[in-house]
Point group: C2
Chain length 413, copies 2
């Protein structure tokens, strides 16, 4: 409402700290000399800012490079151990908690199965909260990291996360039977987690998309869409370098784009959704309708069987046409530089479908925006959900110029 927070001169400094920190984080070790042009700061400011960051322990020197004749440049990098990140993946059957250093190297991991048996496939949010809290303490003990060094905790959950309300993030997860679960408030309740620990909750598919943007096939793009094809279909839209959220954080529900008015019924209740044609669940259902059968107990194995079956050519071609049309919608509406096909089913189908999908997308999309876009396969498996979740606090850390948690808290309260 009040616009950017840059009002006083001190905010300038914070901004410049953030610029230097981010540049150093993403573009490897750099000398102060190189940093100048790259950040559009004068040499004096670079020295000043860097000295401050080094004093705070956020930056460290990383060797030096001869510079023919003169004083060698000392390289700087973000100190990986100066902070820690926690990524949590709340899946449909288990909760995974992972501890990373700032460089996102894994330091410890805990997997905990969810107690099932709730009626109607639902599961209790309180169980999830407990598992997260227990996993956090365990992971900290395993890696011998003190809680104070944690920059923040990122949590990926299955379902729409609405953070627009007053009491923190609220989760609507149709598949797990959560309806407006105030997960953030529950986690912040006394006794669950260390108090004042910054929490970041987002849709698991979106955290996976973030990981793909930071370290996978989306790297370097400013406008991209990461599509996630699993049992269902989702997407993570990156607009101008930041995830596009919409007014209640539920933008990018690509799976329920209408591709055939009055078509197949989708599990969302509508008809003709993309997900009703290319989601793994729907694809298997369509195979069954066409007389196919499989032996694997899980969808992943079944889908592999579908791919191996020689009689599914037409089904797959049809799927490629729908997927291509869905991608064409993304191209026309978002005009991205890159579209990444990911998710476990997307990666499984990818090698077989990517070329017909590209052809279909070319046929359905407008020429001009399609020419600006590349359609690629994702590079990261679903394991990356925790990594993506951890990028949430990491992004904040970089944006705020590595503000210490204490400072944020005291400033905000």
């Amino acid at each position: 409402m009040a616009g950017p927070r840059r009002r006083t001169v001190r905010d300038l400094r914070r901004n410049n700290r953030a610029t230097v920190l981010s540049k150093l984080y993403f573009d490897g070790p750099l000398s102060r000399q190189e940093l100048g042009p790259l950040t559009a700061l004068s040499s004096g400011s670079i020295s000043n800012v860097v000295a401050e960051l080094v004093a705070d322990g956020l930056l460290e020197e990383a060797g030096s490079v001869d510079s023919d004749g003169g004083r060698p440049r000392t390289l700087l990098r973000v100190a990986p151990g100066s902070g820690h990140l926690v990524g949590v993946d709340v899946g449909e059957t288990r909760v995974r908690v992972e501890l990373f250093d700032l460089a996102l190297s894994e330091l410890a991991r805990v997997d905990a199965p969810l107690p099932d048996g709730r009626p109607g496939g639902k599961y209790d949010a309180q169980d999830v909260v407990r598992l997260i809290a227990a996993g956090l303490t365990r992971v900290l003990r395993e890696a011998d990291v003190e809680p104070g060094s944690i920059v923040g905790v990122g949590i990926g959950v299955p379902g729409i996360v609405d953070a627009s309300g007053p009491s923190g993030a609220v989760v609507h997860g149709q598949t797990i039977g959560w309806d407006a679960v105030p997960l953030e408030a529950m986690l912040r309740a006394p006794g669950e987690l260390p108090p004042e620990l910054p929490l970041f909750i987002d849709n698991g598919a979106k955290t996976l998309g973030r990981a793909e943007m930071w370290f996978g096939a989306g790297r370097g793009a400013r406008n991209a869409v990461i599509t996630l094809i699993g049992s269902g279909v989702g997407a993570c839209v990156i607009a101008d370098g930041v995830p596009y959220q919409g007014s209640s954080s539920s933008a990018g529900e690509w799976g329920h784009t209408v591709l055939r008015v009055g078509g197949r019924e989708c599990r969302c209740g509508a008809r003709g959704c993309l997900e009703a044609y290319v989601g793994a669940e729907a694809l298997l259902e369509r195979w069954r309708e066409a007389g196919g059968s499989w032996t694997s107990p899980d969808e992943e194995g079944a889908l592999a069987e579908l791919l191996d079956d020689p009689s599914t050519g037409q089904l797959l071609d049809e799927t490629a046409e729908f997927l291509g049309a869905g991608i064409a919608d993304l191209v026309n509406l978002f005009n991205p530089e890159r579209i990444v096909v990911g998710g476990w089913a997307g990666l499984l189908l990818g090698p077989r479908l990517i070329d017909p999908v590209r052809r279909a997308a070319a046929a359905y999309a407008l020429r001009h925006p399609f020419a600006q876009t590349t359609v690629e396969l994702g590079r990261l498996g679903t394991d990356a959900v925790t990594v993506g979740a951890a990028t949430l606090p990491l992004a904040r850390f970089l944006e705020t110029g590595g503000a210490r948690r204490e400072r944020i808290v005291s400033g905000a309260s």
Copy 2:
């Protein structure tokens, strides 16, 4: 690439000038006293910034208000005459040039028909350039305004405008036969326009969307989609208060969203596009196929006849379903607070279709994001293209804190 331009302390001032100017522009006359909390600036800075803006002639006093007992507050407002804006609408048959003051009051207008007769319906870009230049000088003479006070010229054209290239905006207009016309470079050629005049070229539908956001049904929304249904179908997506452009400024091509894979052929070459069902041209074509006929020579009259004909109920219901599904796609993908149905055909069909369209959208969209959205009719006619075009330089003017043109130019060169 190098992030925000706020590096030095002077940029702080520019930023604060912009904040004050924008607040005053949108929220009417305000006193310095009220301005403080509203802009999060201290009283000292307000005094300082306001004094500077008054000295520059951008702000003026506008009466005063008693404040029970004490010194009355003097109200401030943006001086309407301290700058002028030009909005140009390049239509398919004529070029309209309009001159506004800063408050967007019309001061003069020129309409010039395009010389037709080009083979294949194309028309020469050079003609358009000449008409714009001639219109500009004429409009300035009529209103007795000196060229130096023009803040900038906004131009709405039919077609995709790609401003990502090195030589300025390039226009791809399929309907008018323009293929990569370097309109900006042509306008900047010596002798055409006053040199160094800031030009802003954008798709005409998008400028209309901007007008609807600033002064019409979109007012106050941060995330909105203005749909424009005319002969064809387009949309203007507003994300976080700014128009979403995509990587080559062609985002929001909603008309070619696929609603029926393998469906009706669209004039874009693909099949099953939204435009192939609900655009006025397609709608009339479908009526003809169903045995309908009309007498009006133009689409607008014909569409009115279609609406009056009692036998078109089913056709219109079907149209509403497609339009609703298309709107559901917007809801699912963009999660806006508001969707505005505009464009001449949209406004014509609106009263009849809006309710069934809302029902269809509710059926096809996901519950949660749909609950956040209102679907409304637009309030502005197609006349507003010029106003919307003029908001392009106006937005820049406000963003830069009313930087004088000379300063921008000298700073940029």
